[in-house]
Amino acid sequence: MPFPVRSAPSTFDTGALPRHVAEAVWRGSDVGGAVSRTVSSGFTLLDSQLPGGGWPTHSLTELLMPQAALCEWRLLGPALPSLIDSGRRVYLIAPPKQPHAGGLAQLGLTSDQVVWVGASTPVDRLWVTEQIVKSDPAGVVLSWLPQARPEQIRRLQIHAQSCDAPVFLFRPTGTLGDASPVPLRVSVSLAQGWDLEVRIPKRRGASLDDTLYLAALPCSLAKVLPPRLKTVPAPLLAPSHQEASHARALGRAAPHTPASQSLSS
């Protein structure tokens, strides 16, 4: 006796489900939702690719860079106004170079909002980060951990779960290959002009295969850049910028040839 022929399975349509069921269904191509409160990164393009639409709280975020002191503030600067208001502070743990308080003031951080904790050995850096994260500070924690093993980071991740402040770990890009328990890993490097090239190797939900280009001019430069330096081409963004140096071509600006200008008195 022939078996009954089954029709081919149809694609699953969540629209046909009752709403309370549809909300509980997660499809593999979705970006993960937020587990807890998120803070906007200040870059709309980046927010759209971060779970929950911003930097997470109650969790660690790994930011991988080819060098330290390269672009930390360019990336995090736009998020600072919503992270830091009265009583909240930025905790800098083992920064790679001396922070300049005047430069930080131009990002909006006043003197009583910045704490720099120095630690010279990897063990001390981890311990200090742990102590501060466990104390659930008000504000945001930035920690530079060039050397840390995955189990040490796992320990930090557990403590971070009860910490409402976002915690950012800056690590070298070389550690990308290590397994990491951190739920969000963002890799940043320099792109053309003022842009930063951002990839998200790990996040909740679907992985991101594309590269993002964020227009990340250092905040304080915006007020002094002449038009020829303001916008620069970026591969993925729609070219809606002016090309530089009309003025020089028409001979109106003073001749500036920086590369070959010899200094006189």
Binding site: P66, Q67, A69, L70, C71, E72, W73, R74, S86, G87, R88, Y91, P95, P96, K97, Q98, P99, H100, A101, G102, G103, L104, A105, Q106, L107, T110, S111, D112, V114, V115, W116, V117, G118, A119, D124, W127, V128, Q131, I132, K134, S135, D136, P137, A138, D164, L190, P218, S220, L221, K223, V224, L225, P226, L229, P258, A259, S260, Q261, S262, L263
Partner: protein, 442 residues
């Protein structure tokens, strides 16, 4: 006549982790109890305290009970509650675990069941009373009052009446000492400094009690230890360490953690047998109404403690706050200080851009083809920006002090590898110029 009494009886707890030789003495226990009420007295071998008036200060009686019980456990004392002091004392001596609270069951029923020794004045006459068939206090109470007062000394009837709440009790209340000094003999000689913590913790609890009673916070305390008599001659009689904290505090856990960090760095020259704790610096504690602390301050408090622990372990110089000065020279515009920031006048941010990272010393760069190099050739974007000044600034007072004058042309530069840089060009002797890297816009 009736109140809310607690009786605390020092007892050595079995298998105590604290390595105590002896139980806490009643005087110290009494001082500790003074944080809850001023009506504390030493009664025979125990401490009694009347706490009815303090209930509201601590929220409610249940909360007060919890605090006292927690402390009693730390200090090694048995605890009992009753409407009268004598009754509480009786319970703490002889009561079972359910009778530890003389409030749940009516007082008479509880007391009646206790043996005669529970009240000393009664227990004195135990042989006589036993012959009359009295085994418990209840039996004694049934005897005619007139006979009791004639037959035995008046203190028996008085004590009985006081226990049952028929007669008021009057005690000489303890006086809160002006300074705190606690002492403890350790059960076995301790060889390593961190092991001192076990005994020190009890002394910290006592100190916290004294601080609470005096409404002060400690900003420094000293732990002293005495070496064992059988020691090497050059080891000295003992040692001490002083632990400081920035804000006046009564927090035992915080003190204990700071002490742990400090003791970790101490080496005992010889085994120690006795320890002593003094409150060396105290300051008035501003008490906050707990419900009014905004969330950020409450969080801030525990982070402050974390920072203190970090400073205890890594040195006080490791936690730094910025200090901004008005100066056109980049390196003199700011500095980092360990002290908490004072309320300085808020400067409006500098009008020209400043890098977010500064090198401790400007780094001399190689120059090729009239261009500075740092991880490759640099592209000079914008400049020059001339900064000159500092001729009035000398590096020291002595004759060889250098003038810290600068005359620099700064440039904004970009490196494809190192990002946006802040470099300057400076004239050296003769016609030479040199390029330096001073900061990063990162």
């Amino acid at each position: 006549m009736l109140g809310h009494w607690a009786a605390l009886l020092p007892t050595p707890l079995p298998a105590s982790p604290y390595l105590l030789k002896s139980a806490i003495d009643t005087a110290s226990l009494g001082v500790w109890a003074l944080q809850f009420t001023p009506r504390v007295a030493v009664l025979e071998d125990a401490v009694v305290a009347e706490m009815a008036g303090s209930a509201r200060l601590f929220g409610d009686l249940a909360h007060l009970h919890t605090l006292v019980e927690a402390g009693a456990v730390e200090l090694g004392a048995k605890l009992a509650w009753a409407p009268t002091g004598t009754a509480a004392l009786a319970l703490v001596r002889h009561g079972g675990s359910e009778a530890g609270d003389g409030f749940q069951i009516p007082l008479e029923r509880v007391l009646d069941a206790l043996p005669l020794e529970a009240i000393t004045a009664v227990g004195k006459h135990q042989p006589t009373l036993a012959r009359v068939g009295c085994r418990t206090l209840g039996d004694v109470r049934k005897l005619p009052r007139g006979g009791l007062s004639r037959r035995f000394d008046p203190s028996l009837l008085k004590a009985l009446d006081q226990a049952y709440g028929l007669r008021p009790e009057a005690y000489e209340w303890m006086v809160l000492p002006e300074s705190f000094k606690g002492r403890l003999e350790l059960m076995s000689r301790v060889e390593t400094a961190p092991a001192l913590l076990f005994g020190a913790r009890r002394l910290l609890v006592q100190m916290a009690g004294w601080l609470a009673a005096r409404r002060l916070g400690a900003t420094a305390f000293t732990l002293r230890w005495c070496h064992d008599v059988m020691r090497a001659k050059d080891a000295g009689t003992g040692g001490e360490i002083t632990v400081r904290t920035a804000q006046p505090s009564q927090n035992v856990d915080h003190f204990a953690r700071l002490l742990t960090e400090h003791l970790a760095q101490v080496q005992l020259l010889a085994p120690a047998g006795d320890i002593e704790l003094l409150a060396t610096e105290v300051a008035p504690l501003i008490e906050e109404s707990r419900s009014l602390i905004p969330e950020t301050l409450r969080k801030g408090a525990s982070t402050e403690l974390a920072l203190e622990r970090i400073q205890a372990r890594l040195g006080s110089g490791c936690v730094r706050r910025p200090v901004i000065t008005a100066d056109h020279r980049l390196e003199w515009m700011q500095s980092w200080d360990h002290a908490l920031p004072k309320r300085t006048v808020a400067h409006s941010p500098y009008s020209l851009p400043l890098p977010t990272w500064i090198l401790d010393e400007p780094l001399r760069l190689i120059e090729r083809d009239n261009r500075p190099h740092y991880q490759g050739p640099l592209q000079l974007l914008l400049g020059p920006d001339r900064v000159e000044g500092g001729w009035w600034h000398r590096s020291g007072e002595t004759g060889d002090a250098r003038p810290l004058n600068v005359q620099r042309d700064y440039w904004l530069a970009r490196s494809p590898h190192a990002g946006v840089l802040w470099v300057f060009q400076q004239r050296l002797a003769g016609d030479q110029t040199a390029w330096f890297l001073h900061g990063h816009f990162g």
